[in-house]
Structure formats: structure tokens, C-alpha cells
Symmetry: C2
Subunit: 233 residues, 2 copies
Amino acid sequence: MADDGWRPVKRTRTFEDVLAQIERRIAEDGLTVGDRLPAERHLAGQLGVSRSSVREAMRVLETLGVVSSQAGRGPDAGAVLTSRPDTALTDLLRLHLGLASLELREVIDARHMIEQWAASHAATARADTSALASALSGMDRARTAEEFVEHDTAFHCAIADASGNRLIAAIMRSLRHSMRKYAVEAVERLGDTSILRADHQRILDAIDRGEAAEATRAVSDHLAHAYPSLFGH
Amino acid sequence: MADDGWRPVKRTRTFEDVLAQIERRIAEDGLTVGDRLPAERHLAGQLGVSRSSVREAMRVLETLGVVSSQAGRGPDAGAVLTSRPDTALTDLLRLHLGLASLELREVIDARHMIEQWAASHAATARADTSALASALSGMDRARTAEEFVEHDTAFHCAIADASGNRLIAAIMRSLRHSMRKYAVEAVERLGDTSILRADHQRILDAIDRGEAAEATRAVSDHLAHAYPSLFGH
DNA sequence: ACCACTGTATGGTCAGACCGTACCGAATAC
DNA sequence: GTATTCGGTACGGTCTGACCATACAGTGGT
């Protein structure tokens, strides 16, 4: 079975080459958020490929949350570099949950892990908690389960933001987003949200006082209250 | 400023509609991994759109790791539903790191969080550690930093796998993958890997004995050894 | 100074064509 | 009968060239 000397001529698709070249340019030219990419037609001409291939590469970059395309003319038009990792992650989770290649339990466990970590680090960093407080009062004013969950999500995402880690905050956002439907059901099933209110206050106080261990415990207890069927040991 | 009765005709792009319909079909028909999607030409004809729009939707699904396209004919050809969340996450991290919208420190902190969680859960679940042991012996045979890091990555990903959470395992894989270059540098700077070897053995033993707290501590100490500049408190 | 009109560069969409690939099946060879 | 060969065909991959909607940049009139 010796080597016959023949090799496949090409394995990468054109749009993948385009993608690689765009990525290289971003690295070499030090492009950052807000900078513009060349127009599709120009890029196609300079790279010697069709506009379709450039467009497919753009679609990939858009899916991954690094570019945003606007039609028209002027400074805001064209393909602009952005940073939206959370929308990409949200799509990723939603599709894989729909495919049943991920189970809700796995998403909730991941959320549990992240919330504990974020609360602990927010406490250690003595982070500003004004966003937490405002989400808390939003929950008090909520009249429906949907409204409650909306502010609840804001509260927990604010904890992730306060941890100072944008990657973890982005993952947190997408986890909450993809669980939104189930969170509403859980709140409706619970009925009384006063226990959750007390939990939230306890988390907020722990972070305010910089007590990391207490913040971790408070988050864990809170999730056990919110999802008794999953965390009722 | 009353309503003048006119509305924008269309807000969503064609490929987004295609995407939504494919997603709906996946949910309604209960499609799962391994099932095939209609051919691009058929889909274009049935949806009344051009093939380009269908292709852009396909590219998005491929980017998110839910379909894989193969040319040719037969049962393996066409767009097949798959589940590759880790490749999507890897691309996401790489691009956002390149854009400087994420910093290495954030990635390493996230890895720290996941590793502790995974080791703790693997220990609690009394998971099978044969994959860990084999990665360990691979590290002993490694002759270069690259080889060492390869088996080291396998070791730590095996812990994540052993935790039983596929989402967290996928995130772990992509984190390690996007950090690969820096891991090699860290090993080269360290020179002697005997400390790491002892750390790995300690982690393995703790998981074997089902001691979750000790596994968590062992992982934390290990990362402090591997990245003294970042974790040397 | 203001305003309406036109030019133009941009992304969005489409139709149609051609290529390479890989299976399928019929004709052929043994 | 079985094995081999070879054309047909259903795929994705790519390209071309066209047209549309959008929204800024001038331009010119008031």
C-alpha cells in the first residue's frame, strides 16, 4: 500500500479561504470593533473569487457575532466589526437544544456553575451593585410571570457582568435566554415569589459585604428554591 | 403623527426565513442527528427562494455546528444533521480573541471555573478514569512541549467528559483549543513537568476515590503551578 | 441657510450556468 | 452467475451578471 504519488488537489472551500484571509487581515492590521471591512464587491475582486463566496464568508462571520452588515451608504454602511458573542451562543444553544443533542439539565447545571462563580467573584471584587438593586425593584413591580422573569434575568446577568469576565457574562446571557421559556413555567408553578425575593436580597447583601463564600451559598440555595424538582436533593 | 397605514413590507432577510423554517421543521418533525435535510435545489424550489438564500442558511447552520454538507450522491451526501458545538465554540473564541474583544485572562478564568466544577462532579459520580490514566501515560511519553500539551489537553477534556455534562465538556474543549498556543509556551517556560505530573496523579486519585472537595483543591493547585504568573496570589 | 432631487455605493436577491464528486445501475466481460 | 466497466444522475461548490431597496453625498434651486 505504498504512496502512489497522487494527492487531492483541493480540500478547502472558497469561502473558507476568504474567511481565513479576512481573519488574517484582522490580526495583521489590528482591526477592532467599529472598523469596516471592504465592500463585498471589492473583496471579491481583490481575492479573485465570486461575490457569492464572499457573502458566505460574511454570513459565517455574522453568525459568529464578529461582523454586522448594513445596506446603504455612509460610515455606518457595509460590514462593520462588532462583538456579539452572546447572540451567537444563544443561537448555538437553541439549535442544539432543539436537536436534542443537549438536555435542559445540562444547561441548568452549567448555569448553576456560572452563577456560583460569578457571585463569588463579584463579592471578592466588591463590585458595584446598583444594577442588581434596580433589577430587584423591577421584580417587585412585575405583574406577570413573564415580567418577573425578565427582571430576574437582568438580576442574574448583572451578577455575571459584575464578575468582570465578559466571556462568562456572555455565556450566562445565552444560557438564561435559551432557558427563558422554562423559567417562566417554573415561576408560574411556584406561584409565590416572596422566597425568591428574600434569596435575591441575600445574594445582593453578600456581594455588597464582599462575603464570597456566603454569596456562593446564597446562589446555590436560591437555585434550589427556583427549581425544586431539579435541585431538591 | 397618526398611523398613515403604510408599513415596511419586509424586515427579515430571506435566508433568515429559510433558517426559521428549517428550525421549525427540525422541531415539528422531530429530526435528530443523522437525519438528512432536503437538497438545496429542492428546498429552494419548495420555499420559493433562490438557491443562494438556501445556501446562506446552510452556511449558518454549518457554522453553528448542526449540519454537515457532503457532495456527491447516496445516503451520506447532502446536508446531514450533526452535533458539533465545540467546533462552533472554538471558532467563536478564536475570532473574538483575535478581535481583542476577549482577553486571555478571561478565557483562563473560565477554564479554571469549569475544571474545578468538572473534577468535583466527576468525583461525585465516581466516573470511569481509564481515559484519564491513558492520557497521563501519554504525557509521560511526550518528548516535546507540543506533545505534552496534546496529552495534557486530552487529560483535562477527559475530566470534563467524565462530569457527564456535554455542554460543559464542549466549552472546555473549545477553551483548551483556543489556548493551545499559550499552553505550549507555559510548558516551555516551566521546563520541568514533574510537578504537573504529580498534580495530575493527585487529581486522578481524588476522582477515583470520589473525594469531590479534594479534587477541586487539586485542580486549583494544579492551575496555580501551570500558570504561576496568573495564579500566584 | 434650507430643502428637494439625483447620483451612487452598499447589501440583498435572483436566475442560470458549469464543474467536480460520488453513488447507482445497466451493459459488458469473465 | 459473478465481476468489471462505464455512463447517467443527484448532489454541493462556484461563478456570472443582472436587478432591487436602502441611505448617504452631492447638487441645485429657493
